[in-house]
């Protein structure tokens, strides 16, 4: 419907556009030399033909531009992660609404494209981390400490994955920890060492040799999904870089 009104608008503008250039013959380069050889009437007809063609060309150009940019930006916005709806909590980003009926259209499109089954409110909540506390992207060549406490939940899991398509190699020996199997300090805190090298304690091996990685903290049966905006930085584990392979 919008395109039709646009076409009508252009068509209505056209007579006004064709007239003024007729009085200034040098305005266009291609028609000018032609006119010197043939009669003015023929040149006028020709020019009108060129004008008409150029209007159509311009409309096609506008449509092609719209389709191209529109599809490209839509693809970009729905490729990979969710563009909106995240609640930053320290190094983590909480995604409380991606699975609910109130999810934004982009989150729904991302879920549909990836075949993802997001956690519903009341079932759990997903938090992701792509950067450490200082804002540097998580790198597979570095060692990180994921330490602290988690928001209240009946169970949680921390998993690590490489960003982008999965390597087709054999499954890694460990992809994550659950709240039950993790080793804790006497005060209930825990510390996971995410490292490419073998570490004592809760060692989470890097899923790949190099490149960016992503942490996911999934809280199951948690009351915080309904109030993710109130989550404090101290309620989620801190992600700190302790060293990097040269």
């Amino acid at each position: 419907m919008m395109r039709m009104t646009l076409a009508e608008m252009v068509a209505r503008l056209r007579p006004d556009q064709t007239r003024p250039p007729a009085s200034q013959p040098t305005s266009t380069g291609t028609v000018g030399p032609l006119r010197s050889g043939v009669s003015g009437r023929l040149a006028g007809l020709l020019r009108r033909g060129v004008r008409r063609a150029s209007t159509v060309t311009l409309m096609l150009y506008a449509l092609a531009l719209g389709a191209g940019i529109g599809l490209a930006t839509a693809d970009y916005a729905t490729r990979g992660g969710y563009p909106f709806g995240g609640v930053p909590v320290g190094a983590w980003t909480a995604w409380p609404k991606i699975g609910s009926v109130g999810a934004d259209p982009y989150a729904r499109a991302v879920n549909a494209r990836r075949g993802e089954i997001p956690l519903a409110i009341g079932e759990g909540m997903l938090l992701t981390a792509e950067q450490d506390e200082s804002g540097q992207a998580l790198d597979a060549a570095c060692t990180y400490q994921v330490a602290g406490v988690t928001p209240p939940a009946r169970a949680w899991t921390v998993t690590v994955a490489g960003r982008g398509p999965r390597d087709s190699e054999a499954a890694p020996m460990r992809e994550g920890f659950t709240s039950t199997e993790i080793l804790r300090e006497t005060d209930g805190h825990f510390a996971i060492t995410l490292s490419p090298e073998v570490q004592p304690g809760n060692w989470l091996p890097m899923p790949r040799a190099k490149g960016p990685v992503r942490l996911a903290l999934r809280l199951y049966d948690t009351p915080v999904a309904a109030s993710a905006g109130n989550l404090d930085r101290s309620a989620v584990p801190a992600v700190t870089r302790t060293g990097c392979a040269p």
């Binding site: 503008l13 719209g66 699975g99 999810a103 729904r108 089954i117 519903a120 009341g122 199997e181 049966d221």
Partner: protein, 198 residues
């Protein structure tokens, strides 16, 4: 208008069209997608038990149906029950066990209901997904003396799926978690053979 002005108008109209195309595309993706969970769940329609989506048991030969979840939780077994309420209400029955279980009901627009095994009555969780008309009918036919333990949920759309998630807190529980997903039953409730009280 000069040729340059016309070109400018065309470019601006192109950008406006780009905005419309962008919005329309984003809104249409969930409806047209073929790899989304709802479309994939269709293939498991008619099964009495959830279609395994993510099995966690580390065996030698993992089932081929899985691995379409982009980044699955390696400790959570996931199963899907697709429903089409035009055939009748969908009954999902789960027995609670030692492992944490959660059921979420998803429609085309997202999840509209979720419940965990903490809501179970005497170890059983009975979820009935129905349309508004079927709900009214069930209310009208309900026997006053019988106590129903069914959790009745009115669905926003006729089609959707129920997600069963079971968390294997320890690697040794993973086989149990896979089995527990299969132990959930998803059946179409036909009014004729409905037991009073469920």
């Amino acid at each position: 208008m000069t040729p340059r002005g016309r070109f400018l108008v065309a470019t601006l109209s192109g950008l406006v069209i780009a905005g419309l195309v962008h919005v329309a595309t984003v809104l249409l993706i969930p409806r047209l997608a073929e790899g989304d969970a709802l479309s994939r769940a269709r293939s498991g329609e008619g099964l009495d038990h959830p279609m395994p989506v993510n099995t966690v048991a580390t065996g030698d030969a993992p089932p081929p149906v899985e691995a379409w979840l982009p980044i699955p939780d390696p400790a959570v077994a996931v199963g899907l029950c697709a429903f089409d309420l035009t055939e009748g209400p969908m009954r999902v029955s789960a027995r609670t066990g030692p492992l944490m279980l959660s059921l979420a009901v998803h429609g085309p627009r997202g999840a509209f209901y979720a419940v965990t095994d903490q809501a179970a009555v005497r170890g059983a969780l009975d979820l009935v997904v129905l349309t508004r008309a079927q709900y009214d009918e069930a209310l009208a036919n309900a026997d006053e003396d019988e106590v129903s333990h069914d959790v009745r949920i009115v669905a926003t759309d006729a089609k959707g799926f129920v997600v069963v998630r079971i968390i294997a807190a320890l690697p040794s529980q993973r086989a149990t978690a896979d089995a527990a997903v299969q132990a959930v039953s998803c059946t179409v409730d036909s009014p004729a053979d409905e037991k009073p009280g469920g």
